[in-house]
């Protein structure tokens, strides 16, 4: 029974202190990110980040591909097999700012996922009436606060720059007789149209936030009042959220990511994106707990709880691989051109600029977590958990990069200062908002009915 703390929950509160030193560091990080972003944008506008050559090659490839109908090279801009007659024309008008908007979209989707998974994790624990996680539930509980940042960004980017990101928003694609008319997209316009898209985003986003606010309020009330009545109410909120999230996470996967490649579709996509979000969220929860422990907080979270978090990360890394591979295998095996183009574009298309990321995607998200977290001891050792967290978080950033970038910027993509700056800024903003939210409540939910059980957790 090693690792048992002599911690009595009855009258103990522990408050995270967000020091002015820490705040300063995060703000400096944010500023550094913004500076990197501005330099990146400047270089991009000058075309000095290798954009010109790649763009030129893209032009040729698109033109050559038009004649030869070579699917691998034709894949420029928003494509996917079929009606590609407008592609070369669209290519001529490539605007270098597209990559900036693609990056904003990428990070907003990525961090929305991480934030909402905080809510999902807490709801799931309530739904399962799990005891062990009550010692650390205040950490994921703070994440959804960042939705107040990402959801408006998603809405704004969609509203003002939606046509940059989504092929289906291009002018005239659904208009019969227009030179841009696209029969396939017109057939999908009942679901993919501006009004319905915004309604879904605002509707589900609002429900997420309302449920989170209810859960948070009740959870804080429990600290004061105690008893088990609030627990049953929290279970109900959790159940409601899981139902809503089951529907909305799939719909947002189609809306925000799958509809970028409008012609292409995959019935696995909702699960695929959810699994990517989930495992990233779990890694961020684990990393936050580990960093808080490093700072001397949460001494009552011992290696048994870390072991459970490690098992979660291990299992859902494999789950992600399973879903990714299932999606890939069916498309590869059936070999329909309109489906295969999606992977061809990421493997051989666009002068192979996405091939390295695709390989790293599999290495970082399957092989490394699988091997690092395999043994029991690794899951109970902080440094191994941190290594796994690093691979999972950066791996799933790459995963989302692979989902979004080839469809939006095609041959003009790459890893540069814009990507680095945008990711740094978003990360610092996330850390700031979540740290600030963590200070607002005791780190230990002292009246949680399962807290004693969690303190004696032993596996």
């Amino acid at each position: 029974m090693a690792g048992h703390s002599h911690f009595s929950p009855a009258n103990v509160e522990e408050h995270f202190e967000f020091s002015s030193e820490g705040k300063k560091r995060i703000i400096y990080g944010f500023i550094a990110g913004i500076i990197a972003l501005i330099i990146g944008i400047y270089l991009l506008s000058k075309g000095e980040s290798g954009g010109h050559e790649v763009a030129a090659a893209g032009h040729e490839a698109a033109n050559a591909g038009h004649e030869a109908a070579n699917a691998g090279h034709e894949s420029a801009g928003h494509l996917s097999g079929g009606a590609a007659s407008h592609q070369p024309a669209a290519e001529e008008h490539y605007d270098w700012t597209n990559r900036i908007w693609a990056n904003v979209w990428l990070n907003a989707v990525f961090f929305t996922g991480i934030s909402v998974i905080g809510m999902f994790f807490v709801s799931l624990q309530y739904l399962a009436k799990a005891g062990w996680s009550s010692v650390l539930k205040r950490v994921p509980e703070a994440f959804p606060k960042f939705l107040y940042v990402t959801l408006p960004i998603l809405l704004a980017v969609f509203f003002f720059k939606g046509d940059v990101i989504f092929h289906w928003m291009h002018h005239g694609v659904t208009e019969v007789g227009n030179e841009n008319y696209d029969k396939i997209i017109a057939g999908k316009s009942g679901y993919l149209n501006k009004t319905f898209f915004i309604a879904r985003l605002i509707g589900f986003g609002a429900i997420w936030l309302i449920l989170w606010n209810m859960l948070r309020k009740k959870s804080l009330e429990e600290d004061i009042v105690g008893g088990t009545e609030i627990f049953t109410k929290l279970v109900r909120i959790g159940v409601a959220f899981i139902v809503i999230f089951g529907l909305s996470s799939s719909m947002f996967a189609w809306d925000w990511v799958m509809s970028i490649d409008t012609h292409w579709f995959s019935t696995m996509f909702g699960w695929y994106m959810f699994s990517s979000w989930h495992v990233t969220g779990l890694a961020i929860i684990t990393l936050t707990v580990l960093l808080l422990k490093d700072k001397g907080y949460m001494s009552y979270v011992n290696e048994n709880h870390l072991h459970d978090l490690g098992k979660f990360m291990f299992a859902f890394s494999i789950f992600w691989s399973y879903v990714w591979f299932s999606q890939f295998l069916l498309i590869y095996y059936a070999n329909f051109p309109e489906e295969t183009i999606y992977f061809l574009e990421r493997w051989e298309g666009h002068n192979k600029i996405y091939k390295t990321s695709e390989i790293l995607n599999i290495l970082f998200n399957f092989f490394f977590p699988f091997l690092v977290l395999m043994t029991r001891d690794a899951k109970r050792t902080r440094i191994f958990l941190k290594i796994a967290c690093f691979f999972i978080i950066s791996g799933h950033y790459i995963d989302f990069y692979q989902m979004i970038m080839p469809g939006v910027v095609g041959p003009h993509g790459g890893y540069g200062l814009v990507e680095f700056g945008m990711l740094t800024s978003f990360s610092c903003a996330f850390i700031y908002v979540v740290s600030d939210e963590l200070t607002k409540a005791s780190l230990v939910a002292k009246n949680h009915p399962f807290l004693t059980e969690a303190l004696h957790h032993d596996i």
């Binding site: 029974m1 591979f325 890939f328 295998l329 095996y333 070999n335 029991r376 032993d458």
Partner: protein, 172 residues
């Protein structure tokens, strides 16, 4: 275990008591052979000081064996012995084989582990069970101490068991 009167059994009626008794008896320098319980007790393994099971290592080995065997089988049948084109793919179509490789790995691991577990615990079909006290299948917890393997006298051991809260002490 033959009945040569070399086992002293402390019978307890509470799981927490037996857990505490283990540390108490051990602190007196008495070596405990085994504790029999009707259900698993958290922390008992640690308290008894048993080394951790090496089954996970065996699992990994069996998994690797399964991986190699399945790959060998598919490669031999589909690439060398009777090459077949399926779905226009190469003879060596690795993605196609991943599901069956996974299944083979799991199958070898499962059967290998069950067999290893049975062998290492001396279990086989038709084995006659040697139960020290029938009540360990119901509501009693029994601590078994082998007198021959202890330096302390039988009387000392009996006293230690009584002191640690045993409701009865038997010899078997």
């Amino acid at each position: 275990m033959s009945s040569t009167n070399n086992y002293i059994l402390g019978v307890y009626d509470d799981e927490n008591e037996v857990l505490h008794a283990v540390s108490e008896v051990k602190s007196k320098g008495i070596k405990i052979e085994e504790v029999y319980t009707p259900f698993p007790i958290h922390g008992l393994d640690t308290a008894l000081g048993h080394p951790r099971t090496r089954l996970p290592i065996a699992a990994f080995m069996f998994g690797c064996l399964g991986l190699v065997c399945t790959q060998a089988l598919i490669n031999y049948t589909m690439v060398f012995d009777w090459p077949m084109i399926i779905g226009g793919k190469d003879f060596f179509a690795l993605p196609d084989w991943i599901p069956i490789t996974f299944e083979g790995t799991v199958l070898f691991t499962a059967f290998g582990l069950v067999t290893t577990f049975c062998i290492s615990n001396d279990l086989y079909p038709g084995k006659k069970h040697e139960i020290l006290d029938i009540r360990i299948t119901d509501d009693r917890f029994v601590m078994a101490i082998n007198v021959d393997k202890n330096k302390k006298s039988a009387a000392d051991i009996k006293k230690a068991l009584k002191d640690s809260g045993a409701v009865e002490v038997n010899v078997k």
